[in-house]
Structures are given as structure tokens and as C-alpha cells.
């Protein structure tokens, strides 16, 4: 009996939703295990970041003061991110690609080392794990170095790379949940709006970046999560990473920049042809759209011991567009296409394509920040926000397949998440808790 279509529909969507779910779940776990130990006030006062520059929230301020301060904070943060994006655009325009590559490698090292390290330390303190500092340092160093290698190097198993991507997302998200509450919510909304503007408005930096990259037919330096490994040995391969194989187009022998990556946030639907001979492969992949870099910035705060951090690097995180690689089949909907495994020499016009979705790292981070902040209130809000974000992600993917142009990944999910959080907190909780504690359920 032939297999039904139910076997294969929606594989890539799940391939993207599972790491997002895992990241959110782990961030929630971290928030629960680490916040129960320390008192909230001490954690808040330790963090002095780019998002906190203007106004440090104090629990005793009035609501109006808090709102105003949070708005100022968010404004400053967004402006910082916009500046850094333009900087990235400028650097990319002048072809300083290797600088960008090395910069993103360094930023990955730094994030895994400092933020990952501080999370490890908090965990060790919380669970009283008996480990000495030398061992801890060696383990952390190894972890960080393997992380840097796996994120950009070739020849690393895809699972390792995916796990390190998720780890990067978890580290930043767990750290960002330490921001005060009002600032977090306003910041999330501001970033969603910024993402929308930066990708869709005519002068938006990410849009310019995408156009620049596609006009050069190159790949931007970006940190991207790939949901599907490509195991295709391509003739004339540049020896780049599978990232490069996935992203660079189909046309044979197309020169592509070395696939460097810095962090990015976007979703990309890729169809990569297995056969890169220049036969009729391109009725499918006509363009090779890459997408905007996501610059990664962190203002160092109390890293290891709660000390005040000084200067250091300034990283800003931006959102990047959702780009779709149009698969010229006229496929509608987000469903997968038949994957034909085939050998290299196929005559005729049956195309061999393998799809993979790529999601930028910033999306992971901000989804997890939202869910982590919801976790600080209650489990009900966590679940509601999780469902909202996942459905927003699904909607965005559907829109992507319909619109076929660069789309931002944050706005729909963040909007739905924030709306559901406040609705659940204000409306649903009294209702449900009231009926459930009376043992009345339906």
C-alpha cells in the first residue's frame, strides 16, 4: 500500500518548531530553578545593560514612572540596535567580510563564555554541585571552543551545530530575563515594531542588507539555525560549510563568498538542488536570497561575580527578515514537497530538491525571553504564551509561502504572545483557579 501524504507533510515546520520549543522549555526551567533561590531585588540591581541605561526600575516607583522609564529604555535599545545594523550594512558594503566573520566568531565565544559561564556558576551554586574551579574552567573553555568551531566550521555534525545554536539562544535569553519587568515587555514590543520597519520599510537597514546581499549573490555573515542538514557533495564545492551549500544557489559553479556567519534572525525556506549541473535545474531556484545579519551585542554586566562590568563590546541584536527562496513549482502552502532521492544524472525535468528551513538566532532569543518572563508569573501564562508564539511562527511561515519576499519573523509572534499573556493573566486565571479549586471542571 502506498504511503499516505500524512507521513511527510509538515516535516520542516516541525524541524523548526522543535528547537524553538526546546529552547523555550530550557529557558523556563532555568528561570524556575534559578529564580527561586535568589531574591528578585538583588538580581535586578546587578544588571546594568544597554537596555537599562536610562532608567533602572525600582519596585517602589509609580506605574506612570515605570512606564515612562521603560519606554525610554526601549527607545535607547532600539536606537542602539539600528546604529549597529547600519554599521554592519556599511561594513558589508565595503566588503569587510572577513572582519565580520571574525567578529561574529568572537561574539559567539564571548557569549558562550561569559553568559554561559555565569549560568553554570548560578546552577552550581543553586544545586551545590561539588566541582572545583579548575575543572569548571577547563570544562567551560572546552565547551566554548567547541561551540565556536561548530558554529562556523565545516565537518561538524549537524546535531552538534544545532545544539550549540540552541545553547547560544538559551544563554542570551536566560540573561535577558533578568531585566526588570516593565522594561522587558516594552522592549519586546519595540523590537517587534523595529523588526517590521527594518525589513519592510523602504529605507530599512535590513531590507537594504538583503538587497545588497542578493545583488551580490552572496551570503551574509549570520548566525542561523539550520533545520535540515545537506549531505550533498557538490561538484565544485567551495569546501564551505553546509550552510553555504544550503544557501548558495543552484546554478553550477556559482562563486559564493565563504559562508561566514554572524548572528541573524530570519526564516528561510530553501530548496537546494542536488544536481548542480547546469541543466534545467533552475526553473526552481531562480534567486538566491540571503538575509540580513543580526548583529549580536551585549553590554557586559555583572558577569561572574556580580561585579559591575565596564566597557567591553557593545552588541546589539537585530531582527532580520524572513526570506523565501522561491521554489518555482508554484507550490502553495507551507507543505513540504516530495523529496526525491536520486542519483546525480537524471535526465528529463524531474527536479531533485531538498528543503530546509533556517531560522535566525535572534528569534530564538526573543521568543524565549517572552516565555521566560511569563514563567516568572505562572505556568498558565507560560503555556498560553508558548502556544501564541508557536502559532505566530506558523502564521509567519504561511505568510512567507504566500508573499514570497523578505518578511520579519518577530512581529506576529511577539504581538500574539504579549496579548495572550495579558489576557491570561487578567481574565483567565481567576476563572480557572476559581473553578478548579472547587473541583469543578469541564
Amino acid at each position: 500500500m502506498e504511503s499516505s501524504i500524512l507521513e511527510s507533510i509538515g516535516v520542516e515546520i516541525i524541524g523548526v518548531m522543535s528547537p524553538v520549543s526546546i529552547c523555550m522549555f530550557l529557558v523556563v526551567l532555568l528561570v524556575y530553578s534559578l529564580s527561586s533561590s535568589s531574591s528578585p531585588s538583588s538580581a535586578v540591581s546587578d544588571i546594568r545593560t544597554a537596555a537599562n541605561l536610562v532608567y533602572a526600575e525600582n519596585p517602589s516607583d509609580t506605574a506612570a514612572q515605570k512606564l515612562e522609564g521603560a519606554l525610554l529604555n526601549a527607545l535607547v535599545f532600539v536606537i542602539l540596535i539600528a546604529i549597529v545594523t547600519f554599521l554592519l550594512l556599511l561594513l558589508y558594503y565595503y566588503n569587510c567580510t572577513s572582519f565580520l566573520k571574525h567578529y561574529t566568531r568572537f561574539s559567539a565565544f564571548f557569549v558562550l563564555g561569559s553568559m554561559g559561564g555565569s549560568i553554570f556558576l548560578s546552577l552550581i551554586q543553586r544545586f551545590s554541585i561539588p566541582v572545583d574551579s579548575v575543572t569548571c574552567f577547563i570544562l567551560l573553555f572546552n565547551f566554548t571552543v567547541v561551540g565556536v568551531l561548530s558554529v562556523f566550521g565545516s565537518g561538524i555534525p549537524i546535531l552538534v551545530r544545532q545544539s550549540y545554536m540552541v545553547c547560544l539562544g538559551i544563554s542570551v535569553a536566560a540573561w535577558l530575563t533578568k531585566l526588570p519587568e516593565w522594561t522587558t515587555w516594552v522592549l519586546l514590543v519595540a523590537l517587534a515594531v523595529y523588526d517590521l520597519v527594518a525589513v519592510l520599510a523602504p529605507g530599512g537597514p535590513l531590507k537594504l542588507l538583503v538587497e545588497l546581499a542578493s545583488s551580490r549573490n552572496e551570503e551574509l555573515p549570520a548566525l542561523i539555525y539550520e533545520a535540515r542538514p545537506t549531505t550533498v557533495p557538490r561538484a565544485g564545492s567551495r569546501g564551505g560549510t553546509s550552510l553555504g551549500l544550503l544557501v548558495t544557489g543552484v546554478t553550477a559553479g556559482e562563486p559564493s563568498a565563504a559562508p561566514s556567519s554572524s548572528s541573524s534572525s530570519a526564516i528561510e525556506l530553501q530548496a537546494v538542488s542536488r544536481d548542480n549541473k547546469d541543466r534545467n535545474v533552475n526553473d526552481n531556484l531562480n534567486e538566491n536570497r540571503d538575509y540580513g545579519g543580526n548583529e549580536y551585542s551585549v553590554v557586559p554586566m555583572g558577569g561572574f561575580g556580580g561585579e559591575r562590568g565596564q566597557g567591553g563590546r557593545d552588541d546589539a541584536e537585530e531582527r532580520s527578515p524572513l526570506v523565501r527562496n522561491s521554489h518555482g513549482d508554484g507550490e502553495s502552502g507551507i507543505v513540504d514537497e516530495e523529496r526525491h532521492e536520486g542519483n546525480g544524472n537524471r535526465g528529463g525535468d524531474e527536479e531533485i530538491a531538498e528543503r530546509g528551513i533556517k531560522l535566525g538566532l535572534g528569534d530564538f532569543v526573543f521568543y524565549s525571553v517572552l516565555v521566560g518572563r511569563a514563567a516568572m508569573y505562572d505556568l498558565m501564562t507560560v503555556y498560553a504564551c508558548y502556544l501564541a508564539i508557536i502559532s505566530g511562527l506558523g502564521c509567519t511561515l504561511i505568510l512567507l509561502s504566500v508573499c514570497r519576499r523578505a518578511l520579519p519573523a518577530l512581529p506576529i509572534s511577539i504581538t500574539l504572545g504579549v496579548v495572550f499573556y495579558f489576557l491570561t493573566r487578567l481574565l483567565m486565571e481567576p476563572f480557572i483557579v476559581g473553578t478548579a479549586t472547587n473541583l469543578m471542571m469541564f
Binding site: 504511503s3 501524504i5 516535516v11 502552502g333 505556568l379 498558565m380 502556544l387 506558523g394 469543578m440 471542571m441
Partner: protein, 250 residues
């Protein structure tokens, strides 16, 4: 009552659905998406209901009929939503069949349709368990426990986990029955599901009376087992007739 007890309560409420998920649903990505979307729909219905009822809460009466109105209205709303879900599913089925034609695969089999119905029901059940039971379990991971007046012999968490288990079963399998009833036009099946839901909801009202849970919860389980049996018989019958038809044709 410590982490072990907390995990125990979670598994009591969600254990069977977890095994269904791992064994049946996780193999097909589309079913996972179905679970997620039906959970979302149930959540939205809960939010809508709580929006409507928010003005009247907290109910400070000791009589039972305001609660009865609450439950009946909520159940009516959710049954209407089930009908809506069925309509969406019909359209989805057409889209899937058209897609299957395009990639030269057969149309959806009966087992596929039942699997989709099972996944939607599981989504509803999961949402119920999470919102009514799991989200209240956070104190259970700590050092103490909590008792309710009406049922003071058993910890509250255990009671809510048991009730959640019964409701998960009811929701999961009544969706299968409902979809099959709508597809076949079978009146018995079509009305079986709302009736069962109402009966189950009303049975939990018994829990309001002191000592009522010793009566209410076993009756709830009777209803759940009834749903299971009915679903099993219906699926068996349909599969047999389908097989007989396909054997006759081939």
C-alpha cells in the same frame, strides 16, 4: 510534596496522553501541528469564556445553580467550537486531497482521518489537563500539600490529576466519535458527544457538596470508560466495513 510527588501528579494526569503522543502522533509531523492548533483553539475558547464571565466572578454564593449555569454555558460554547472545528477540518481535508493529487499520492485513508481526529481530541485534552491541573501544580513541587474542604481526605493535587485524566480521555475520544458522526451523518454519534460532555461537567458539580468527590469522581470514570468503549466499537465497525468494501472492490 517534593519534586517526586509533583512529577507523579503530572504523569497521572498526562501519562496516557504522553504515550499516545509518543507512539502515534510524534511519527507524523502533521499530527503534531494538529495537536498544537486544537490546543490553541481550546485556549482561545477558555479566554473568551473567562472574558464573558469575568464580570461575575468571584461567585460568592453557596448555592449550586450559578456554578451550573457557568458550566453549562462553557460546555455549550465548547461544543459549538467543536462544530466549527469540524467545518475547518472539512476544508482542510479537501486541501489535503488536492495536494495529494498534485504529488500523485492517494487521498487520505480512513485511518488518516481518524488519526487527525485523535490528534485534535488529544489537543483538547492536553489543553484541559494543562490549564486545569498542571498550571496549579507548582506548589506541589515544594515541601507541603493542600487539601480542599469538600474533599479533605485526599490532597487537592491528586484529585485534580485524577479528574484531569478522566477528562483527557473523554475529550480525546469524543472528538473521534464526533468527527465520525459528522462524516457519516450518524445521529447517535453526533448527539452522544455533547451529552457526554454535559454529563461529565455536571458530575463535577457533585464535588461541591462535602464528601461529594467520593461519588463524583468514580462516576466520572464510568463516563470516561463509556466513551472509550463507544469509540472503540465505532472505530472497529467502521474499519471492518471499510475493509469489506475495499475487498469487494479489489
Amino acid at each position: 510534596m517534593t519534586v517526586a510527588a509533583g512529577i507523579g501528579y503530572v504523569l497521572i494526569a498526562l501519562g496516557p496522553s504522553l504515550s499516545i503522543f509518543v507512539s502515534v502522533i510524534s511519527k507524523k509531523p502533521f499530527l503534531i501541528l494538529t495537536v498544537l492548533s486544537s490546543t490553541l483553539l481550546w485556549l482561545m475558547s477558555l479566554i473568551a469564556l473567562s472574558g464573558i464571565w469575568r464580570g461575575f466572578l468571584p461567585l460568592k454564593t453557596t448555592s449550586w445553580w450559578p456554578y451550573a449555569i457557568l458550566i453549562l454555558s462553557s460546555i455549550a460554547f465548547q461544543e459549538a467550537l467543536r462544530l466549527l472545528f469540524w467545518k475547518i477540518y472539512k476544508r482542510l481535508e479537501d486541501t489535503l486531497d488536492a495536494f495529494a493529487d498534485r504529488v500523485a499520492k492517494p487521498h487520505l485513508f480512513l485511518t488518516d482521518k481518524m488519526l487527525i481526529a485523535l490528534a485534535s481530541g488529544l489537543g483538547h485534552g492536553l489543553a484541559h489537563a494543562v490549564f486545569f491541573c498542571i498550571s496549579l501544580l507548582t506548589p506541589a513541587f515544594g515541601p507541603a500539600t493542600y487539601f480542599v474542604e469538600q474533599c479533605s481526605k485526599v490532597p487537592f493535587f491528586l484529585l485534580s490529576a485524577l479528574i484531569a485524566l478522566a477528562f483527557v480521555t473523554i475529550h480525546t475520544f469524543s472528538m473521534v466519535i464526533a468527527f465520525n458522526g459528522y462524516a457519516e451523518g450518524n445521529q447517535v454519534d453526533k448527539y452522544f458527544v455533547p451529552v457526554v460532555h454535559v454529563v461529565a461537567g455536571v458530575l463535577t458539580l457533585i464535588n461541591l457538596a462535602p464528601g461529594g468527590c467520593t461519588v463524583g469522581i468514580p462516576l466520572l470514570y464510568v463516563v470516561a470508560i463509556l466513551t472509550l468503549i463507544h469509540c472503540g466499537r465505532m472505530v472497529w465497525r467502521r474499519l471492518l466495513t471499510e475493509n469489506r468494501i475495499s475487498l469487494n472492490h479489489s
